[in-house]
């Protein structure tokens, strides 16, 4: 029997090339390609009066310069609004190159193609743009006030107002024993992969065919966009995703202007053309996420059980809405987490500001929703003087409640919000055990005696993963016995080549080392969606399992003929089909691959071996009516709805009484992503998510000034954590509640680590300090300011008490 691979900590097959410098990222490809640079708006809001590119002609080594005027056909239309929604009444998207107006610092205005990037950047300095300044709208308060408008035809700066509810939240809150009214804010951060965006294109004039390599999370999406915008047939465009240096959501936005401009230039110049984004560009012209202001009204009973929950939040969508309302819709639905309030009402307003666009960043709206809900749970506990864990437990959906519908809410995929499976009480028991929740008060007393301040925080989440509509898998057994697997979604470091090979090894009974997985290549998989929403393992993993089962079935059918046995008596291991219990009766999969194709050129060992077997009916056509030549399996997986992963994070922090520095003492994660394919990879995903969460909670924000200038557009000032800022050790425990929705019981794991981090740090810092934390991220400087405010308030209250007593 072949060793079972599912659930094993298999080392990654990707690593050999990546640790030896042989990875192929977009900027490594097509040496000698012309290089490009983009003139970006230095102003947050302005009308373009004129653009003069005349002087660029004097720069040696420049091949072309494009402005809006030079964009042909559909390229001159606004970029697509990828996910329209009826509530998005005022959706707006930018042009590939700005037409008449710029709406954020960084918006693309002109595109230069030159011998190299140095010369392209020189050329930018020779472009003269005359602007008419317009007042910029920066930040949610300014957007709400709407004294100035981002788009003059969008009243109130409001792209959308959306409402969903079940039950009667207002009535329930009115009638509740206790009520609280709470306000929270959370700031922007960004995906910030170490590799920025990058695209290379080559036009083959002989074949009339365009090859595009792009650092994307969706090769099929880019392909469709390029074909349509350049007026090419889909069949003329290949999009290949090379090694991608991280994505985290920002590379699911498509097409970026440069993903169209590079192919356009390559076709018209008949030379390969490359765009490699630099870090400053990534800050000001890619995408951000997270910025929201939230208002929560909640009614609850003496046990802390929520009777009514009403949420209104304001979502900063930046200057345009290419990605529709996905992020705020997720916030508004995933906010409910593992809890079951009987009455819920949520309204959000998606607002324009003169800042970089907001599109999904790992977690995609969930961190904000979890933050609002978990802050509310802590507030309820504080109000009642109860343990924070007890209040959460009182509100948990119970294991017997599944499948559990959150009223009639619709999720991001437009489908009902129905949780498939989970066990939240058991997760909580594991979390409490992992962080020693019950022993913390004793530890706090010890610390206090030594003059130290410590606090503990806890936060829960539920995450809809494996969002549809579909992914496909293709499994091809070659005559060598090697298995070539393809799926259309892309990889940005998740280890898909390894995880998917593990699935195929088990399903097909072939050695792991004989399997090669290719992702994100439209030549191999023209139908696919992309890698986001923790969907790769669930969607492509399932599709590949189904495809492998089809290939297996065909192999067994042919083997049954060749070995003159019954299919049910066959087994496959180590790539050999055997008749159970009959030692000499066997045939290799490679030989079966030969037999599956009536055209048997005897090119290899397997072909020669195949001559000793007879398959097929001489009275039928060589390829049967419902058959195909070749030993392949193909299938698509398309679930009714998402599967819901869950987890709980807990953290212990110490805050310095003098410097307000925040130190992480312990960090614990308990999570449930259903069946684990490769625990090593899952834990890696959790570690990385937690580190990004630490960044988002304690270090990272987008510091815009009132003019809409991003003041920290560098790694010097945007404080992504180094190893020194993340916990030394993250304690992880798994719970496996399989999903009933897919063949392997999988749930997604990619985003989980980052989802409850802002919530859990706010909880712990609040616990250490004894005053509410309502704005995240929080820096030592901000904590210091809060201390002074609360000292001042306490002194004033004390003063009032003393005066009223006297």
């Amino acid at each position: 029997m072949t060793t079972k691979m599912m659930g094993e900590r298999v080392p990654r097959v990707e690593d050999d090339r990546l640790v030896t410098g042989k990875g192929r990222y977009s900027d490594d490809l097509v040496p000698g390609a012309l290089e490009t640079a983009v003139l970006r708006s230095p102003h947050a809001h302005a009308r373009i009066v004129s653009i003069d590119v005349e002087a660029v002609l004097d720069v040696h080594g420049v091949h072309a310069v494009y402005t809006y005027e030079d964009l042909p056909g559909p390229m001159a239309d606004p970029l697509p609004l990828l996910i329209p929604h009826p509530a998005l009444t005022h959706g707006r998207t930018q042009y590939a190159l700005a037409k008449d107006e710029v709406n954020y610092v960084g918006e693309a205005i002109a595109f230069v193609v030159a011998d190299n990037r140095y010369i392209a950047e020189d050329a930018l300095e020779h472009i003269e743009v005359e602007y008419d300044f317009l007042p910029p709208v920066v930040g949610i308060p300014a957007a709400r006030a709407a004294q100035e408008l981002v788009h003059e035809d969008v009243p109130g700066n409001r792209a959308a107002t959306m409402h969903q509810s079940f039950g009667d939240a207002d009535a329930a809150i009115r009638d509740a024993t206790h009520t609280l009214s709470l306000d929270f804010t959370i700031e922007r951060s960004a995906s910030m992969p170490l590799e920025g965006r990058g695209t290379v294109a080559r036009w083959d004039e002989d074949l009339k065919r365009l090859s595009v390599w792009t650092s994307t999370q969706t090769s099929t999406g880019v392909r469709a966009a390029v074909a349509s915008k350049l007026g090419l047939d889909l069949g003329q465009v290949d999009v290949i995703t090379p090694d991608v240096g991280g994505g985290f959501g920002v590379k699911i936005m498509h097409p970026w202007p440069e993903e169209l401009l590079v192919p356009l230039a390559a076709r018209s110049l008949k030379r390969p053309v490359k765009f490699t984004e630099d870090r400053r560009e990534h800050f000001i012209s890619a995408a951000h996420e997270r910025g929201q202001e939230q208002h929560v009204d909640v009614g609850f009973d003496d046990d802390g059980r929520i009777t009514g929950l009403s949420v209104h939040f304001w979502h900063d969508n930046g200057a345009y809405t290419p990605y529709g309302l996905i992020v705020p819709i997720i916030t508004s639905t995933q906010l409910l987490g593992p809890y079951k309030p009987p009455n819920y009402s949520v309204t959000f307003e998606s607002l324009y500001t003169n800042t970089v666009i907001v599109t999904p960043y790992r977690g995609a709206g969930r961190p904000q929703g979890v933050y609002a809900m978990e802050r509310t749970m802590d507030a309820i506990a504080a109000h009642l003087g109860k343990d924070r864990v007890q209040v959460r437990e009182a509100n948990f959906i119970q294991p017997e409640d599944f499948p559990y519908a959150q009223g009639d809410l619709l999720f991001q995929d437009g489908r009902p919000l129905i949780y498939d499976s989970g066990n939240y009480p058991e997760l909580m028991d594991k979390a409490k055990a992992l962080i020693d929740w019950s022993d913390f008060e004793a530890y706090r007393e010890e610390a206090r005696a030594a003059g130290r301040k410590v606090g503990i925080g806890i936060a829960c989440y539920v995450e809809g993963t494996g969002v549809g509509p579909y992914e496909g898998g293709h499994v091809h057994i070659e005559t060598s016995g090697k298995v070539k697997v393809s799926t259309g979604l892309t990889s940005q470091g998740q280890g898909h080549e390894t995880a998917f090979a593990q699935i195929v090894a088990d399903e097909l009974g072939v050695p792991f080392a004989d399997i090669e997985v290719v992702t994100g290549d439209t030549r191999r998989s023209p139908y696919s969606v992309g890698t986001f929403a923790s969907r790769a393992a669930v969607m492509s993993g399932s599709a590949i399992a189904l495809a492998a089962r089809n290939a297996r079935q065909k192999a067994l059918r042919i083997a049954a003929q060749a070995l003159e046995a019954d299919v049910d008596d066959l087994e496959i291991s180590e790539g050999i089909v055997r008749v159970k219990g009959v030692p000499q009766s066997e045939i290799a999969l490679g030989t079966l691959a030969v037999l599956s194709n009536p055209l048997r050129y005897a090119f290899d060992e397997a072909s020669r071996a195949a001559t000793q077997f007879i398959v097929g009916d001489p009275l039928q056509p060589p390829v049967g009516e419902d058959d195909e030549p070749g030993l392949e399996g193909k299938d698509y997986y398309s679930p009714m709805r998402c599967t819901f992963a869950s987890g709980i994070h807990a953290v212990i922090v110490e805050t310095d009484p003098e410097t307000a520095e925040i130190t992480i003492l312990r960090y614990a994660v308990v999570h449930d992503c259903g069946t684990l394919i490769n625990p090593k990879i899952v834990e890696g995903q959790i570690h990385g998510g937690v580190a990004q969460g630490v960044g988002g909670a304690l270090y990272e924000k987008m510091a815009y000034d009132e003019h809409g200038q991003l003041q920290n557009a560098s790694f010097m000032d945007f404080l992504m954590p180094y190893v020194t800022e993340v916990p030394d050790g993250i304690e992880v425990d798994h719970l496996e509640t399989p999903s009933p929705l897919n063949p392997l019981g999988l749930k997604g794991a990619g985003e989980a680590g980052v989802i409850p981090t802002s919530a859990v740090f706010a909880s712990a810092i609040e616990d250490a300090e004894g005053f509410p934390i309502t704005a995240m991220p929080i820096s030592p400087s901000e904590l210091h300011a809060l201390r002074l405010t609360h000292e001042h308030d306490r002194a004033r209250d004390q003063d009032t008490i003393e005066r009223s007593n006297s």
Binding site: T659, D717, Y722, A785
Partner: protein, 295 residues
């Protein structure tokens, strides 16, 4: 993010370097390049001529004697940090160098380069000031020494003339009976400090505090040094006298707010760090005295 074009010169003698600079006063000198290259790449700065002095090995020397530590313009932070003689003669150097960026940057970046960059957020300009060091500069007109107190004339501004190259710095040895300490608070480990404090505390024969000076990073326009001796009239460091020293220091500093911290917070850090660092410097002085007695 690519630099604008420039002409590159790599002189083989200091004389040649000085002549090149005299001919083109707009030229910039490249030693470690850890601050200059990013500025060029971001096109926040551009130069007609870059004079690379890395071909002048004479400038890569560290010499230590009883008077102090002398290090040339090509001495990398990491070399100075690893130099045992330098650490013994003036322990402030190593104490502060450990906080300069990360080891990889210290492998290329030069201490003299950091000093002439004159960033009040940099550790080494302040250390030169605190230790009462000097900088030797040369031009085709000759050489001169600039005392640290006369060197830093404004934000990122020194009293060097356009045709002068800093060739070496001198930091006096720590006087007997003294101790030092350095600490800082940065947003991330290795970042520029929100506030950093270095101190030299001198004890008299009886172990009583005789003289106290502290230097400050990131809380003033130019590297700031404050004499805090008067806060310890009884020669004792107590919670009360240390707090008074912190207050006195803050009174002479001028922290500013930026996206990483408010002026108020930086002042709080200056207070807290002053107390911690002065205490640590006193402990260091006592430890040194004890060591001397025992040796």
């Amino acid at each position: 993010m690519k630099p604008a074009p420039f002409t590159y010169r790599r002189p083989t003698s200091l004389t040649e370097a000085l002549d090149l600079l005299a001919q083109e006063p707009e030229a910039k000198v490249l030693a470690g390049g850890q601050s200059l290259v990013p500025l060029l790449s971001m096109r926040l700065s551009s130069v007609p001529v870059l004079i690379d002095i890395n071909g002048l090995p004479d400038l890569a020397r560290v010499t230590v004697d009883d008077s102090g530590v002398r290090f040339g313009a090509l001495v990398r932070h990491s070399d100075l940090l690893a130099h045992e003689g330098a650490a013994a003669a003036q322990p402030l150097l190593a104490a502060a160098l450990r906080h300069v960026a990360h080891p990889t940057i210290r492998n290329r970046g030069t201490t003299v380069g950091s000093i002439v960059h004159a960033d009040a957020s940099g550790e080494m300009p302040m250390i030169l000031r605190l230790a009462d060091g000097t900088l030797t500069v040369a031009s085709s007109r000759g050489r001169r020494e600039i005392a640290a107190r006369d060197l830093f004339v404004g934000p990122l501004e020194t009293s060097l003339a356009a045709d002068e190259i800093a060739v070496e710095a001198f930091v006096p040895a720590l006087p007997a009976g003294s101790g030092v300490a350095f600490d800082e608070v940065a947003r991330r480990h290795g970042d520029y400090a929100l506030c950093g404090v270095g101190a030299v505390v001198a004890l008299d024969g009886a172990g009583s505090v005789e003289h106290v000076r502290a230097g400050y990073v990131s809380v003033s326009e130019t590297p700031a040094v404050v004499d805090l001796t008067e806060c310890f009239p009884d020669g004792e460091m107590t919670a009360r006298t240390l707090a008074a020293a912190g207050e006195m220091a803050v009174g002479q500093l001028d922290p500013e707010s930026d996206i990483h911290g408010t002026a108020d917070y930086r002042a709080q850090l200056a207070r807290a760090l002053t107390a911690r660092v002065l205490k640590a410097a006193q402990d260091d002085a006592r430890a040194r005295a004890a060591q001397k007695v025992s040796s």
